[in-house]
Symmetry: D3
Subunit: 145 residues, 6 copies
């Protein structure tokens, strides 16, 4: 197996907030990330696919096709958006970098032209990032958000 | 003269929007940067001070003091904020990277412990940035925003 | 005046070679950069435009339009090319980073939608780069290349 | 076990092309990477060795010796070269980043002064890279290239 | 499981030297890293915690709390220090990047507010780094240093 | 004129300390940079040369020769050293990044194979750097250090 990665970026706003908690609780837990109007980041998304190089092409996956998939399924929907309001597949979900990675995984899992989704790495800043390998994980969707 | 620079970061949301224009005009001019709820960036701010090294210290400016100035006067007020709503000194101003640089200059100009403000460089992303050297420039403040 | 910069990348092959010199002279001057079949780089091109922010938009130049100009006039013509063979506007020119910067300037100089071309910065690697501000400079075009 | 990594760079040209396919097929599969004269990259190679620190030195491997190994066995042979024409150990192989990683592994596997080869990571650009852990993988060598 | 990482930096001096070896042996093994008065680096420390996102917060671990832990337990004690002389928990240990990673692991292992310590990655430079996953490893402490 | 830059790195320890001041004064001025045994950095040095491209070569300066000059005159003397003790040309000078830049300028000024020294840029960290263009500046040399 080889592990091939494509890196893309998007710029978005978000607010960390749990509607079932009081304002005081939200403030205590999420601190400056709880700012009412939100704040934002230049996110970096790295998607890794595992596979064996095709004998004819030497490719595990055509990275141009992987990039197109990422642009069509994720980037166009989150870039220059507010993640709490503008993105259908994030409705009611607290947009932590953990939850974003899990949701992105579910979107990409079955859509790869070749190879198998192996890892999603998501940077909120150069100093804070998450890696997810697709283990079953629960996310709560809040209704009144 | 030597030119000493301190680099700091902040994460903020913003929306590019001129309240005197129609929605269609705003959309045509600002495109995806006009998203209603905003989007966001990890901004990088580089502030350059010009001066001669002090004979006793070998410093043009103590960078720890310059950093404290930047944190107190700018970063604490814009980090994890929405620039259109949360920042007093940006009220009514279209928060383009150009306008931000000019406003930051006006704030810092007279507050340096030593040396003279020479340049403000502000990155919105790794691929888009501005440099400003303090020439007199007009910014419009819109009232009904 | 403010100075606004857009950064784009391209990947290209090149060979440094002067057809009026002997093989020994080329080898002595250009060393490993003279490799017959060429070698290559991920070039980074930063183009800086000077101007005053428009009162209505807060923009010196719309960076989306500057990026489109760079893509249409330069990147599409040099990306994934061999600079000695595939690029009309480089025919007969030794493709040093110096000469590339001068040629790119001549292409962009009169085509800006707003603002004025101020600087071209071109990185061959992270460790070697050039800056050019448009002063009149001679480049030789070799005929039998 | 600890995992120690050395990072080195090389600049090379390559062309993606399968001589058993038609020009149309090559164009369809490899697109702009199929450019006749090639294009190029600043490749980054990260080689990871696994082992336990020596009690006397605190080293898993002396990184100066690992670097010398990488320079002698790989970098001097690929840096400032055209990978399709100039490199003995790549003759007849489609120089995708996948195939390069596999070939580099085979070269390094038995030559380490201490520790055990664990991973090869190879960046073609900041946005595209591969990781290989040495699992047996087939590469095709084409004769008439 | 998700893997959350916080990245912090510190600047320190060190000298690689084994007091039980002769000067000639130290010179032969550690070469320029054996310079009597030491040399220094801007170290980058990445600490990765594994866990499942909390349903209420969407966090595996609050990165602000992880950062505070790293600052209080490690950074404040090693930043702007000479690692051979100034740090209690490094006394008598050869300060290779391998040994530093192991010592940092032992300090952090039981102090996490949530999640489980998964990996420590430590860069001495951009080109040399180590990863450690906590397997039992022996380090020698030299008495007469 | 074109401006050509070469970037090199070195790792060194230093201590900021003025021997004519009391310990309390040194502590007050230099704070954590005054640590008795020193601390260290991975310095990045960028040297810029101004000139016109040679018609025969397309080079302002052969960057391989500029790099060799930097290695021979500066890097070999400061890399993996303690700047307060090990470097002849820094004896008695407070090794602030300002003073280092000025001393490096004096060393390089008359030794360029072609072009003219234009700028020295020196990074102590990614967040703190200085630029110097060679204006006459006084540095004090302390005798009893």
């Amino acid at each position: 197996m080889l592990y091939v990665t494509k890196r893309v970026e998007f710029s978005a706003a978000h607010r960390l907030y749990n509607p079932e908690l009081s304002d005081e609780q939200n403030e205590a837990i999420f601190d400056k990330c709880n700012n009412f109007y939100g704040h934002g980041h230049n996110y970096i998304l790295e998607v890794t696919v595992a596979g064996v190089p095709d004998i004819t092409t030497g490719y595990v996956i055509d990275l141009k096709r992987l990039k197109k998939l990422l642009m069509d399924e994720i980037i166009i929907k989150v870039d220059h958006k507010h993640l709490n309001f503008d993105v259908d597949f994030l409705k009611g979900i607290i947009p932590t970098v953990e939850n974003l990675a899990i949701v992105f995984w579910r979107i990409l899992e079955d859509k790869l032209p070749s190879g198998k989704l192996y890892k999603i790495k998501l940077f909120e800043t150069e100093n804070s990032f998450i890696e997810y390998f697709g283990e079953e994980t629960e996310i709560k969707t809040f209704s009144n958000k």
